[in-house]
Protein backbone atom coordinates (compact mmCIF):
# COMPACT_ATOMS: atom_id res chain seq x y z
CA UNK A 1 0.00 0.00 0.00
CA UNK A 2 1.16 3.48 -0.77
CA UNK A 3 1.74 5.79 2.12
CA UNK A 4 0.76 9.43 2.07
CA UNK A 5 4.40 10.44 1.62
CA UNK A 6 4.77 8.12 -1.38
CA UNK A 7 1.65 9.62 -2.88
CA UNK A 8 3.06 13.10 -2.40
CA UNK A 9 6.44 12.17 -3.90
CA UNK A 10 4.74 10.54 -6.86
CA UNK A 11 2.65 13.65 -7.46
CA UNK A 12 5.76 15.85 -7.35
CA UNK A 13 7.62 13.62 -9.80
CA UNK A 14 4.65 13.69 -12.17
CA UNK A 15 4.37 17.45 -11.76
CA UNK A 16 7.99 17.89 -12.87
CA UNK A 17 7.32 16.33 -16.28
CA UNK A 18 5.42 19.22 -17.93
CA UNK A 19 8.28 21.57 -17.03
CA UNK A 20 10.98 19.39 -18.57
CA UNK A 21 8.82 19.03 -21.67
CA UNK A 22 8.31 22.82 -21.70
CA UNK A 23 12.07 23.35 -21.53
CA UNK A 24 12.61 21.21 -24.64
CA UNK A 25 9.59 22.75 -26.36
CA UNK A 26 10.88 26.24 -25.66
CA UNK A 27 14.29 25.24 -26.95
CA UNK A 28 12.70 24.11 -30.20
CA UNK A 29 9.95 26.71 -30.61
CA UNK A 30 11.24 30.01 -29.21
CA UNK A 31 12.44 32.43 -31.89
CA UNK A 32 15.89 33.38 -30.64
CA UNK A 33 18.75 32.51 -28.36
CA UNK A 34 17.62 34.84 -25.56
CA UNK A 35 14.11 33.43 -25.33
CA UNK A 36 15.50 29.90 -25.40
CA UNK A 37 17.73 30.81 -22.48
CA UNK A 38 14.63 31.81 -20.52
CA UNK A 39 13.08 28.40 -21.17
CA UNK A 40 16.24 26.61 -20.06
CA UNK A 41 17.00 28.52 -16.90
CA UNK A 42 13.47 28.55 -15.56
CA UNK A 43 11.43 25.55 -16.70
CA UNK A 44 14.17 22.96 -16.29
CA UNK A 45 15.38 24.21 -12.94
CA UNK A 46 11.84 24.10 -11.62
CA UNK A 47 11.42 20.56 -12.98
CA UNK A 48 14.62 19.45 -11.25
CA UNK A 49 13.53 21.24 -8.07
CA UNK A 50 10.31 19.20 -8.00
CA UNK A 51 12.20 15.92 -8.53
CA UNK A 52 14.66 16.86 -5.79
CA UNK A 53 11.80 17.70 -3.42
CA UNK A 54 10.11 14.38 -4.19
CA UNK A 55 13.29 12.44 -3.45
CA UNK A 56 13.96 14.46 -0.30
CA UNK A 57 10.68 13.14 1.07
CA UNK A 58 11.95 9.61 0.42
CA UNK A 59 15.45 10.17 1.82
CA UNK A 60 16.75 7.85 4.54
CA UNK A 61 18.91 10.43 6.29
CA UNK A 62 19.39 14.16 6.71
CA UNK A 63 22.71 13.83 4.92
CA UNK A 64 20.88 12.58 1.84
CA UNK A 65 18.45 15.51 2.07
CA UNK A 66 21.32 18.00 2.22
CA UNK A 67 23.12 16.39 -0.72
CA UNK A 68 19.98 16.58 -2.85
CA UNK A 69 19.67 20.24 -1.91
CA UNK A 70 23.33 20.76 -2.82
CA UNK A 71 22.76 19.23 -6.26
CA UNK A 72 19.80 21.50 -6.92
CA UNK A 73 21.68 24.60 -5.78
CA UNK A 74 24.69 23.70 -7.95
CA UNK A 75 22.51 23.27 -11.02
CA UNK A 76 20.71 26.54 -10.22
CA UNK A 77 23.93 28.52 -9.87
CA UNK A 78 25.50 26.91 -12.93
CA UNK A 79 22.38 27.46 -15.04
CA UNK A 80 22.00 31.11 -14.07
CA UNK A 81 25.71 31.89 -14.49
CA UNK A 82 25.97 30.20 -17.86
CA UNK A 83 22.75 31.86 -19.09
CA UNK A 84 24.19 35.25 -18.19
CA UNK A 85 27.56 34.50 -19.83
CA UNK A 86 25.95 33.26 -23.05
CA UNK A 87 23.56 36.24 -23.23
CA UNK A 88 26.41 38.69 -22.64
CA UNK A 89 28.58 37.03 -25.26
CA UNK A 90 25.73 37.10 -27.77
CA UNK A 91 25.03 40.80 -27.09
CA UNK A 92 28.71 41.64 -27.46
CA UNK A 93 28.75 39.79 -30.77
CA UNK A 94 26.00 42.16 -31.94
CA UNK A 95 23.17 39.65 -32.00
CA UNK A 96 19.97 41.71 -31.71
CA UNK A 97 17.13 40.07 -29.79
CA UNK A 98 14.12 38.99 -31.80
CA UNK A 99 11.16 41.43 -31.61
CA UNK A 100 7.53 40.85 -32.34
CA UNK A 101 7.06 42.22 -35.85
Amino acid sequence: MMSLIDLFSGALILASLPFFVAGTLGLLRFPDLYCRLHALTKADNLGLGLVVLALMLQAQSWLQVLRLLLIWLLVLIAGATVAHLIARKALAAGHRPWRRP
Binding site: I13, L17, F20, G23, L33, D44, V75, T81
Partner: protein, 97 residues
Protein backbone atom coordinates in the same frame (compact mmCIF):
# COMPACT_ATOMS: atom_id res chain seq x y z
CA UNK B 1 6.94 4.77 -6.80
CA UNK B 2 9.71 2.67 -8.37
CA UNK B 3 7.94 2.10 -11.66
CA UNK B 4 6.74 5.70 -11.75
CA UNK B 5 10.33 6.92 -11.34
CA UNK B 6 11.50 4.64 -14.15
CA UNK B 7 8.73 5.75 -16.49
CA UNK B 8 9.39 9.43 -15.81
CA UNK B 9 13.14 8.86 -16.29
CA UNK B 10 12.38 7.30 -19.68
CA UNK B 11 10.16 10.21 -20.74
CA UNK B 12 12.90 12.63 -19.69
CA UNK B 13 15.30 10.69 -21.88
CA UNK B 14 12.84 11.27 -24.72
CA UNK B 15 12.85 15.04 -24.11
CA UNK B 16 16.64 14.94 -24.37
CA UNK B 17 16.35 13.11 -27.69
CA UNK B 18 13.94 15.79 -28.93
CA UNK B 19 16.34 18.48 -27.75
CA UNK B 20 18.89 16.96 -30.12
CA UNK B 21 16.93 18.55 -32.96
CA UNK B 22 18.17 21.93 -31.72
CA UNK B 23 21.72 20.61 -31.63
CA UNK B 24 21.40 19.49 -35.24
CA UNK B 25 19.72 22.65 -36.49
CA UNK B 26 21.79 25.17 -34.54
CA UNK B 27 21.91 27.58 -36.34
CA UNK B 28 24.72 29.00 -34.19
CA UNK B 29 27.25 27.11 -32.04
CA UNK B 30 25.71 28.84 -29.02
CA UNK B 31 22.32 27.29 -29.77
CA UNK B 32 23.99 23.92 -29.77
CA UNK B 33 25.53 24.67 -26.40
CA UNK B 34 22.10 25.54 -25.02
CA UNK B 35 20.91 22.04 -25.77
CA UNK B 36 23.89 20.68 -23.89
CA UNK B 37 22.80 22.80 -20.92
CA UNK B 38 19.31 21.37 -21.14
CA UNK B 39 20.80 17.89 -21.07
CA UNK B 40 22.79 18.85 -18.01
CA UNK B 41 19.69 19.63 -15.98
CA UNK B 42 17.59 16.80 -17.37
CA UNK B 43 20.34 14.22 -17.04
CA UNK B 44 20.77 15.11 -13.37
CA UNK B 45 17.04 14.48 -12.88
CA UNK B 46 17.25 11.16 -14.75
CA UNK B 47 20.23 10.01 -12.66
CA UNK B 48 18.47 10.90 -9.41
CA UNK B 49 15.30 9.07 -10.46
CA UNK B 50 17.24 6.00 -11.59
CA UNK B 51 19.21 5.99 -8.34
CA UNK B 52 15.97 6.06 -6.39
CA UNK B 53 14.30 3.37 -8.49
CA UNK B 54 17.26 0.99 -8.29
CA UNK B 55 18.10 1.78 -4.65
CA UNK B 56 21.65 2.76 -5.57
CA UNK B 57 22.60 5.85 -3.57
CA UNK B 58 25.85 6.04 -5.54
CA UNK B 59 23.79 7.59 -8.36
CA UNK B 60 23.53 10.74 -6.25
CA UNK B 61 27.30 11.09 -6.56
CA UNK B 62 27.12 10.61 -10.31
CA UNK B 63 24.45 13.32 -10.48
CA UNK B 64 26.60 15.62 -8.38
CA UNK B 65 29.62 15.16 -10.64
CA UNK B 66 27.39 15.65 -13.68
CA UNK B 67 26.07 18.93 -12.27
CA UNK B 68 29.62 20.16 -11.67
CA UNK B 69 30.93 19.08 -15.06
CA UNK B 70 28.09 20.72 -16.97
CA UNK B 71 28.89 24.04 -15.33
CA UNK B 72 32.60 23.73 -16.08
CA UNK B 73 31.98 22.67 -19.69
CA UNK B 74 29.58 25.53 -20.38
CA UNK B 75 31.80 28.19 -18.82
CA UNK B 76 34.78 26.85 -20.77
CA UNK B 77 32.75 27.05 -23.96
CA UNK B 78 31.78 30.68 -23.38
CA UNK B 79 35.33 31.67 -22.43
CA UNK B 80 36.85 29.89 -25.39
CA UNK B 81 34.39 30.96 -28.05
CA UNK B 82 36.62 33.70 -29.38
CA UNK B 83 35.26 33.45 -32.87
CA UNK B 84 31.90 35.16 -33.28
CA UNK B 85 29.59 32.77 -31.44
CA UNK B 86 26.56 34.00 -33.38
CA UNK B 87 27.82 33.31 -36.88
CA UNK B 88 26.20 30.24 -38.43
CA UNK B 89 28.73 27.55 -39.03
CA UNK B 90 29.87 26.92 -42.55
CA UNK B 91 30.08 23.16 -42.18
CA UNK B 92 29.67 21.26 -45.42
CA UNK B 93 27.82 18.55 -43.57
CA UNK B 94 25.46 21.03 -41.90
CA UNK B 95 21.88 19.85 -41.78
CA UNK B 96 19.78 21.89 -44.20
CA UNK B 97 16.49 23.24 -42.89
Amino acid sequence: MTSLSLIVALILLLTIALGLIRVLRGPTPTDRMLAAQLFGTTAVAILLLLGFATHSPVMTDVALVFALLTAVAAVTFVRRAEVDPMAPEQDVDDVPD
